[in-house]
Amino acid sequence: MRDQIILRIAAKILVGPILLFALYVQFHGDYGPGGGFQAGVIFAAGIILYALVFGLDRARAAIPTSIVTWCGTLGVLIFAGVGVVAMFMGGNFLDYGVLLYDAEHAQHIGILLVEAGVLVTVFGVMVTLFYSFAGRRRSR
């Protein structure tokens, strides 16, 4: 699709805002609709759009497969890690209330961190799925 100038320009304009919007959905998740899963999907959609228009190779050059796979598991570690830290600070597993000096701020930062873990994992898994399906014939 590299010869489709309109598509190329539109995609170039859109990819940045899509990624930014993903972050908005992530950080606004505790005040309005949104959260880590949706943010992760939107972030991945930005990358997938880039890959569709500019080709898989350029997408892989920008975000290599190894990093994407890493993201898929790193998110789980962030999620479980927050829970374990809460456990060490005297609360139950995933009890964010004990993470900071007062419960309200602690709950806020706790859910944000956990949702960040979700974002990273969902992004990683979505793009991994896309890469492996799109790259099937080429890698053989």
Partner: protein, 493 residues
């Protein structure tokens, strides 16, 4: 501090291990992490069970949210025993996997393999420990997804097809379960199992509750491979890598049986399930047909892994038979057999894993004359087979004993007789293998093999020794199983 957090550690250790396994690029390190996760989970399970047997009611509020609103982990004698089975088998089979998996799975996929392996273990433990109906579904999906991936990694190309078939059947089962849970939630407004048990008696006449019960029963029966819903199982077991067959044969159907027990007895209550709906009348014939036909089918299998898979469906029939009596003895037999069948099938599949490692096939022709080449492996297979038949001094005998007692207690003489008669079918299919192994002429290929390495024999024999130990001194297992049976019949945990 650690004692208070055991229920969380039970799940978090394998979950963290799953993520770390994938992150490291070295297969041995990946295995080491998996082993550490499995051992931690086992230690937690032992700690939990010993506290439960001390009379403690263990509850753990996840995230600090109190019970009916938040997710609660709750351990009593029933799931304490299931946790011990799953985690114990997990340790032994992970030990076995190190050598076996390197032979049977593509080198580059080994870290991913252990990731899926630990996810599967985490899911199975999670189903057992949680006290929340929706959480059961979530963990069920985690363990199932892990299992599908593990089966698909089998070296035979047919592994892919059987994994896909299991995926379809398993997803149908899981959606039935989630529909059932959804209907219960609509009717009662709660997902906590203990809370559900409290609210349901007032709603026994409702059709929604009846439909929820039906969906849950069918969905779970699919997962545990109750007779007409078992078609996914033989291929999945036969084509999965040896270590994977050992893990899922010994644990995943057991956990599904636990879910069934939980819903029948704790949530809906024995009066609703068995008196009002007379479930025993439905389960009893299905169990008997399963035992009889599947043992017969097993006799005609030439692939020994497949033979044992059909035998597993028959053995699940024995467990369901015990449940169908809805008496203390019947349930003791069922929970005992959960534990004992895990030991015998685990041992048998690991012995076959040793054969697979050396010979590269588990076809009956490939086994001919191996008795002289691999004496220890074949002795293990024979001992496991004897246990499967139910010979005294093995765990199989203890289960059958309680099962026959349970049948007699109900005045069901023919059923008791049938249990004994079907044991002779097990004699037939085990004897076929023993005959080929010890009296068959070795093929040229079998003549050149040597005994399996110690790293495979030690886990296999650990399970065989457990088979014999708990067969001779059954006081611990019968005590726990009896306590579990009374907890189930006594209503809410």
């Amino acid at each position: 501090m650690i004692a208070a957090h055991l229920p969380a550690i039970q799940i978090v250790a394998p979950l963290l291990a799953a993520a770390l396994c994938v992150l490291v690029p070295w297969k041995r390190v990946s295995w080491g992490i998996a082993m550490a996760g499995a051992v931690t989970a086992f230690a937690a399970a032992v700690g939990l069970l010993s506290r439960v047997l001390g009379g403690e009611d263990i509850r753990y509020a996840l995230g600090g949210w109190a019970a009916p609103w938040g997710i609660e982990y709750r351990v009593d004698a029933v799931n304490g025993l299931v946790l011990l089975i799953v985690a114990g088998i997990g340790v032994v089979v992970t030990l076995f996997a190190l050598t076996s998996v390197e032979r049977e799975v593509d080198e580059r996929r080994i870290p991913l393999f252990y990731g899926a392996w630990m996810l599967c273990l985490c899911g199975l433990l999670g189903i057992a420990i949680t006290g929340d109906a929706f959480n059961i579904f979530v963990f069920l999906e985690i363990s199932s997804l892990g299992t599908y991936a593990l089966i698909a990694m089998g070296s035979d190309r047919r592994a892919l097809v059987s994994a896909f078939r299991y995926l379809i059947m398993g997803s149908i089962g899981a959606s039935f379960i989630v529909i059932g849970i959804g209907l219960l939630y609509v009717e009662t407004g709660t997902l906590n199992l203990a809370d559900l048990a409290e609210r349901l008696p007032a709603l026994y006449g409702e059709r929604t509750v009846l439909v929820a019960f039906a969906f849950l029963t069918v969905g779970t029966s699919l997962k545990l491979a109750l007779f007409p819903l078992h078609v996914w199982l033989p291929d999945a077991y036969a084509f999965a890598p040896s270590a994977v067959t050992g893990l899922i044969a010994a644990t995943s159907t057991k956990v599904a049986v636990y879910v069934l027990l939980r819903f029948f007895f704790t949530v809906f209550g024995v009066t609703y399930s068995f008196d009002e709906l007379s479930l025993g009348m439905w389960l009893l014939p299905l169990a008997l047909v399963a035992i009889f036909t599947m043992s017969l089918v097993a006799i005609f299998q030439r692939n020994i892994k497949r033979m044992l898979a059909y035998s597993s469906v028959a053995q699940i029939g024995y467990i369901i038979l015990g449940i169908s009596f809805a008496s203390v003895t019947g349930l003791t037999a069922a929970t005992l057999h959960l534990f004992n069948h895990a030991l015998m099938k685990g041992a048998l599949f690991l012995a076959l894993g040793c054969v697979m490692y050396r010979v590269g096939s588990v076809h009956i022709d490939a086994l001919r004359g191996l008795g002289r080449r691999m004496p220890w492996t074949m002795a293990a297979f024979t001992a496991g087979g004897l246990s499967l038949i139910g010979v005294p001094l093995t765990v199989g005998f203890v289960s059958k004993w309680y099962l026959v007692l349970g049948a007699l207690e109900q005045g069901m003489w023919p059923v008791a007789a049938l249990v004994l008669v079907t044991s002779t079918l097990a004699v037939v299919y085990i004897w076929r293998v023993v005959e080929a192994v010890y009296f068959g002429e070795p093929s040229a290929r079998a003549d050149s093999v040597s005994e399996a390495p110690l790293r495979l024999l030690v886990p296999t024999w650990a399970l065989i020794v457990a088979n014999l130990y708990f067969g001779i001194d059954a006081s611990l297992t019968t005590n726990v199983a009896g306590q579990a049976a009374r907890a189930l019949l006594g209503g809410a945990p």
